[in-house]
Amino acid sequence: MSDAVLDRETIDPDQLVNRRLVALFFLMALVFLSVAILGGLLMALQLVHWNPLRGIELLSPGRWRMIHTNAVAYGFLANAFLGALEWSVPRMTLRPVASRALSWFIFVAWQVIVLSTAVGIMFGQAQGVEWGETPVWIDPVAMLGLILVMINFMVPIAQAKRPPYVALWYFIAPFIWPPLTYAMGNFMPQYWVSGTGGGALTGLFIHDLVGLFVTPLGWGLMYYFVPILLKKPIWSHGLSLVGFWGLAFFYPLSGIHHFLYTPIPMFLQYGAVVATIAIEFVVTTVVINFFGTIWGSGRMIVTSIPVRWFYTGMVFYFITCLQCALQVTLTFQKLIHFTDWVVGHAHLVMFGVFSFWLMGIMVYLFPRLIGREWYSRKLLEYHFWLSAVGLFVMFVDLGLAGVFQGFYWASLLPWDVSVEGSQPFWITRVFAGLSIVGGLLCFLYNLYRTYMGGYETSSESATGRIMPEPA
C-alpha cells in the first residue's frame, strides 16, 4: 500500500490521462449517437407512412435501420467506452496507457472504421449478420483495431502492482472477449459455416456483443464511478465476486436463446433458456450490491445528475433482466418472438441502461475535461427527463404492441390486420423517439454553450480525484 500512497502524491493526473482525447472520444460518440437516432427516426416514420424521403436509395429505411444499430454499438457505445476507459484505467492503475500515440491512432482508426461501416451500409454492402452488418472488407480492420485497444489498456493493467479493484476485472476480460466475439461472428458464418450451425453462431455473436462487450464495460465503469461519486466504497466485495463470475460463466452460454424454435437442436435451446434464467439471479446480486452502496445517501439521486443517470439505468437493468428471464421461456416465445416486444427490450437495455450510464459519465466528466462548469443545470435536467420519459414510454408501448402482434398472428387474421393494429403503437413510438431527440438536443446545446462560455473552475475539481483509498 505504501507505494500507492507515494504514487498518489507524486503523479500528476494530467500525465496519466489525456483529457483532450477523452473529450474527443465523447464528442464522436455523441456525433454517432445523433446519426443513430436519426436513422431510428427515419424507420419509425416509415412505419407510420410519414416518411418524407421516400424512394431515395441512399436514405432507404432498410439500410438506415442497420446504420441505426451499428452506429449505436460501434459509434456511440464503443467511442464512449473508449473515452471512459482512457480516463479510468490510468487512474485505477496509476499508470498511463501503453502508448499515447497508439491511443491517438486508435481514435482516428476507429472513426474511420465506423464511418466506412455507415457508408458501406448506405451503399448496400451490408453483411448478413445482425449487429455485424459491417461490410466484409472492413471486418479485418475492425478486428485489428480491437486488438490494438486490448494491448493499449492491458499494459498498464499488467504493470499495476496491487491486486486489481473489481472494475478492473470487468475490464480485463472484455479486452479479450470483443476480438474473439468479433472474429467468431463476422468470419465464421461468412466463410465457413452456413445454415443452422451458422445460425447458432450468429445468435451467440449478437448475445456476446451485448454480454461480453457492452455489459462488462458498463458494469466496470459503474464499479469505478459510483463509489467515487457517492464517496464511499462498494457495499460488498463478496457480492461483486459473485456478480462478475456469474456473468462470465452464464452470459455466453445463452447465445442460442435468440433463435428459439429454429431447427437448432432443442436440447441446446433448453440449455440456453436455463442459462438465461440463471443470469437473472446473478444480476439481482449486482443490483443489490449497488443499492446497498447508495443506502443512506439516497438523496444523491435527486441532487447529483450523474448518480441519477446511473441508478435509473440500474433500475432499468433490473427490469430488462427480469424481462429476459420471463421472455426466454418457450411459452413466452410463442407469443412475443418476432414482435415489437423484442424491439422494446433492446431499446431498454441499450438506451435505458448503457447509454444512460454513459450519459451520466459524460455529465460528470465533461466539466473536468474542458475545465468549465456546465452552462445550465436546467438543460441537464431536461436532458435526463426527456430521455427517461421518452425511453420508458417507448418501452411500454413497444411491449404492448408486441403482445397485440403476437395474438393477431396466432389468430390467423390476415397479415395487414396486425400491421394496421400496430399503427397506434408505432405512432406513439414516434413521439417517444422525438422526446429522446429533444433530450439529446438539450444536451448538445448545453455542451456547446459550456464549451464556448461558462467559467473556469478550480484546478482541483477540474482534474478530479484519483481512485479513493480501498476500504
Binding site: 480485463i172 452456413s194 445454415g195 418476432f338 424491439v343
Partner: protein, 227 residues
C-alpha cells in the same frame, strides 16, 4: 485465483468464452457435419426455372439486357437458364441483405402459434445447408410476413409491382419503395430487380407442398390460437 489478473483473464476471459463457444456453436456445427453445404447451382430446381423463364417472357427487354439471349438449341438453353438463374440467386441474396429485407422478414416457420397454417411446413435443418444461407438469414423480427415459403405463391409481375411501390397492391403496407431496382416504371425491372424477384421465388421452391397457400380460417371467440 478469482481475484487475480491472470485468473480473470484465463478463466473468465478465455476458458468460459471457449466453453460457451464449444457448447453453443461447435456442437450444432458438429451435428450437421454430414449435411454438406449445397452450392448455389444445385439450388436451381424446376419450380424456380419456371419462374425464371417466366421473368424472361414478361420482361424480355430488361431480362436480355441483364442476362443476354438464350441459345437456340433447347438443351443448351436449359443449361443456360439454369446458370443465369444461379447468378441471379447470388445477386438477389446480396440485394436482400444489402437492403436489410431480412430485418423485417424472417426466414423460418416455427412449430408454434399456428405458423404451419399460415406459412406451411415447419423449417428443417437441411433447408439451410446451402450457399445462400451463409450467413444464415433466420431473421429476428417480422414487420412483414415470413418469406421462407413465399416462392410461387405470387406471380412475378405481382412482385415487380410490389417492390416498386408496395402501396399499389397493399394500401396499408408500411414497406419502403425500392424504385432503384427499376428503370423508371414497374414493368422495367433492372438486373437487380430481376435478381431479387428470382431470389424471393426461390424460397420454398424445393418443397413438395410448393406453392403453399395458407389455410385461412381466422378464429374467433376465446381461442387465441396460442395452444
Amino acid at each position: 485465483m478469482f481475484e487475480s489478473k491472470s485468473g480473470v483473464f484465463f478463466i473468465g476471459g478465455l476458458a468460459f468464452f471457449f466453453l460457451a463457444f464449444a457448447s453453443n456453436a461447435l456442437v450444432p456445427i458438429y451435428m450437421y457435419r454430414d449435411l454438406p453445404e449445397q452450392p448455389v447451382r444445385k439450388l436451381v430446381n424446376e419450380n424456380l426455372l419456371y419462374q425464371f423463364e417466366d421473368l424472361h417472357k414478361r420482361y424480355q427487354e430488361p431480362f436480355e439486357a441483364a442476362y443476354g439471349t438464350p441459345p437456340e438449341d433447347e438443351t443448351e438453353a436449359e443449361a443456360w437458364y439454369a446458370d443465369r438463374c444461379a447468378e441471379a440467386l447470388l445477386r438477389g441474396r446480396t440485394i436482400y441483405t444489402g437492403e436489410g429485407c431480412w430485418h423485417c422478414h424472417s426466414q423460418f416457420v416455427r412449430p408454434v402459434s399456428r405458423e404451419e397454417d399460415r406459412w406451411g411446413p415447419v423449417a428443417e435443418v437441411y433447408e439451410y445447408q446451402n450457399e445462400l444461407q451463409r450467413p444464415v438469414l433466420f431473421g429476428t423480427r417480422r414487420v412483414g410476413p415470413d418469406l421462407s415459403r413465399e416462392g410461387g405463391r405470387r406471380s412475378n409481375d405481382w412482385h415487380a409491382v410490389h417492390f416498386f411501390r408496395p402501396k399499389m397492391l397493399i394500401p396499408t403496407s408500411p414497406m419502403p419503395e425500392y424504385t432503384w431496382l427499376y428503370d423508371g416504371s414497374p414493368d422495367q425491372p433492372n438486373a437487380d430487380g430481376l435478381a431479387l424477384i428470382t431470389y424471393v421465388q426461390w424460397m420454398g421452391s424445393w418443397l413438395h407442398s410448393y406453392p403453399y397457400y395458407e389455410r385461412f380460417e381466422p378464429i374467433s371467440g376465446t381461442d387465441s390460437g396460442m395452444e
